[in-house]
């Protein structure tokens, strides 16, 4: 993490005092830095930030380093320490009156489940397992209490670190009810709670301890004051806590602007030539490959990638087109600024085109010159690396807090595609016709039989699709299964991949075979709104007709049941060439008598039954 980036805007005097306090871990220097920070104006110090700490052990001695770390976020940090080991009591007493910005619960095995330290004196395994379950219940109860009394306050639950000091350590890992298993079980419950409940987050002490625990343990201080951390440990712990709470105040940056040569690969493509670039599974190409993996992961979680390279575009594209180990694709970048203009100009343009502030940008470049120029000309941009060494760049990507956020939403994950689609729509507006655009999406469809593997998604779509839905029958899972269990019934799902990735199942078709005359009746036909206008309905209909043909079916009946929302498909079956049998305001019935297999649209490449998700 980069404390120095956090405190960059503080005056030199304060910055120096903070760095000295952190480096020496001296309480005197921590207090000195805090005093200097309080001399700054409220604007310089940041927003007021009140954090309540509730702990099973004594945090009082380490409040100054915690206050300093939170002040560096920056914030006007105010700490409220609840009485020692009285978590539930405090949560119950302290309701809305004492509003704070976050509540942190910090606990450890020594108080939460001391029996686990001495399993054979405490009824191992049955009794100890029961006690572990009681702790899990306690965690659940505490969350409910918090939500009942202070629902608006973000709650951070610490995980449980393995104790540094305990005997019989080998056996502790050999049984699920022993210490290590018990700790893992409680932690699992804590992760589950954070997954399920909004407003509850994990302060992962367990992860911190795995990295730094033993180094910072002080048994003497624990016995003297029930406070287990050494001086340096206190500062490290405080900074770790501050990083975890920081997203409450500081939004994550949204864009990573990255250089090409000597970053995504080793070497300079325009100089060294494609064949001499270093990228692959051997050293040092594997470092660059790993950098690409990190960037791809950032992209996939919602950080936009922007290419900033001084290159001829043709040269820059070459590795993307023909270097076999390239992981990133040209399209993974939301914008490409490949030209000979100064990078700060390109970055300003990128900010404008994306509609984002300059302070949303992070910049990576191996060139000292480029980084320095960016630093001077656009100070809002965060410069990630400080040397040209690829391993250093990789390390910066691993440790940066620039993209820290406590939740990553579906929207975040789609962000890149949204920006790409937006760019493509622009292309489409300028392009010649719709078909060319659809072809450019490189769509690949797979027709799957409805079965256990895709049933959940199918039922979900049946339950919520409104626009492209011919009959809007809201079947339950059991109803769908009942239809499909009838002999001759056909249930199909269309899975779509395009150049943006796997779009998942986007269309469903369910048809029932009549037991009397052997005709086929279409029960449900729907397409997700994400895939409208791409022609997937044509491909799925073609698949149904093909199957009907193979089964020797001579007639397919279908109907359109109008709703306020599904006007988009009022004439779908007319377009498919079915004959109208009946038409009235509440339904239109169709029949297809001459079963001819229609080829699917030319812009969708059909892969047949790639996975055998056959009915069971």
């Amino acid at each position: 993490m980069s404390l120095f980036d956090w405190i960059g805007h503080f005056p030199e005097l304060q910055r120096h005092a903070i760095v000295e306090a952190v480096e020496t871990a001296s309480l005197g220097k921590v207090r000195h830095a805090l005093r200097l920070l309080k001399e700054l104006s409220p604007e310089q110090r940041g927003r007021p930030f009140t954090i309540e700490l509730l702990s099973t052990y004594n945090l009082e001695p380490i409040l100054p380093p915690i206050e300093l770390a939170l002040s560096c976020i920056p914030s006007q940090a105010q700490l409220q320490l609840a009485p020692l080991n009285d978590i539930e009591g405090h949560v119950t007493r302290n309701s809305v009156a004492q509003a704070c910005d976050g509540r942190v619960i910090i606990w450890r095995v020594e108080e939460l489940l001391p029996e686990a330290l001495y399993p054979f004196s405490n009824g191992f395994p049955e009794q100890l397992s029961t006690r572990t379950e009681e702790v899990v219940s306690r965690v659940h109860r505490l969350v409910k209490l918090h939500e009942a009394h202070t629902p608006a306050t973000p709650l951070f639950l610490s995980t449980i670190a393995l104790p540094v000091h305990f005997s019989n350590p080998l056996f502790a890992s050999q049984h699920a009810a022993a210490l290590c298993g018990a700790v893992a079980h409680i932690n699992r419950a804590i992760y589950d709670i954070a997954t399920q409940r909004s407003g509850v987050y994990v302060f992962d002490i367990c992860r911190w301890a795995a990295l730094e625990g033993k180094l910072h343990a002080d048994a003497l201080l624990d016995f003297v004051a029930r406070q287990p951390l050494s001086g340096r440990g206190q500062v490290a712990f405080a900074l770790f806590l501050a990083r975890c709470l920081r997203p409450l105040l500081i939004p994550a940056r949204k864009v990573l602007a990255v250089d090409l040569d000597d970053t995504l690969w080793g070497g300079v493509v325009g100089e060294d030539g494609l064949e001499n670039l270093k990228l692959g599974h051997d050293f040092p190409g594997n470092v660059h490959l790993r950098i690409q993996r990190e960037l791809l992961e950032l992209r996939n979680r919602g950080i936009l990638l922007v290419l900033l390279s001084k290159n001829n575009e043709a040269d820059a594209r070459q590795p993307f087109d023909s270097l076999p180990d390239m992981l990133l694709k040209w399209e993974d970048f939301a914008l490409h600024k490949v030209n000979w203009k100064p990078k700060h100009e390109n970055l300003r343009e990128a900010a404008q085109e994306l509609g984002l502030g300059l302070d949303s940008f992070v910049f990576v470049d191996d060139s000292d010159y480029e980084r320095e120029q960016m630093r001077q000309l656009i100070p809002e941009v965060l410069i990630l690396n400080s040397s040209s060494d690829p391993l250093h760049i990789l390390n910066c990507l691993w440790t940066t807090d620039a993209f820290d956020s406590l939740t990553i939403t579906e929207e975040d994950r789609r962000r890149h595609d949204d920006y790409r689609v937006r760019a493509d729509r622009d292309v489409r507006a300028h392009g010649n016709d719709l078909e060319e655009f659809l072809r450019s999406l490189q769509m690949e469809a797979t027709i799957e039989e409805l079965g256990p593997a895709n049933m959940e998604r199918a039922v979900a779509m049946i339950g919520k699709t409104n626009q492209f839905n011919l009959t809007t029958k809201r079947h339950s899972r059991a109803q769908v299964q009942a239809i499909l269990s009838a002999p001759g019934s056909i249930g199909l799902a269309l899975r779509l991949r395009d150049k943006f990735g796997d779009q998942g199942i986007v269309a469903i078709l369910v048809a029932m075979r009549s037991t009397q005359d052997g005709t086929l009746v279409v029960d449900s036909f729907l397409v997700s709104c994400r895939a409208l206008g791409r022609g997937v309905e044509d491909a799925l209909w073609a698949a149904l007709v093909e199957r009907a043909n193979e089964a020797g079916i001579h007639k397919v009946f279908a109907e359109y049941l109008p709703t306020p929302k599904n006007g988009i498909v009022a004439n779908l079956y007319d377009r498919f060439g079915l004959q109208r049998l009946e038409h009235n305001p509440s339904s239109t019935r169709y029949v297809l008598e001459k079963i001819e297999v229609q080829p699917p649209p030319g812009w969708i490449h059909l892969t047949k039954n790639k996975k055998g998700n056959a009915k069971q």
Binding site: S26, V224, A225, G231
Partner: protein, 80 residues
Amino acid sequence: MQSSDSLRELLIEFFDLPGSTPVEEITQPAISKWDSLAMVQLITELQNRFTIEFDLEEIQALRSYQEIRDTLARKGVLSV
């Protein structure tokens, strides 16, 4: 090895005392802030600054500049 002057500075900074405070006045009874919490923090501070670990007996002998100086000298981390 650090000098006893550096210990004096440490204590003056730690308890936020006037720079001119004579060492004889740096004692637990004379400094109201020197409560049990401060004692714990002081132990932490000394262990950190001198890269040492106290034993149980030694932490009983940290109640004044004089005592701390002698304890640190015995541990061989302070020149007197």
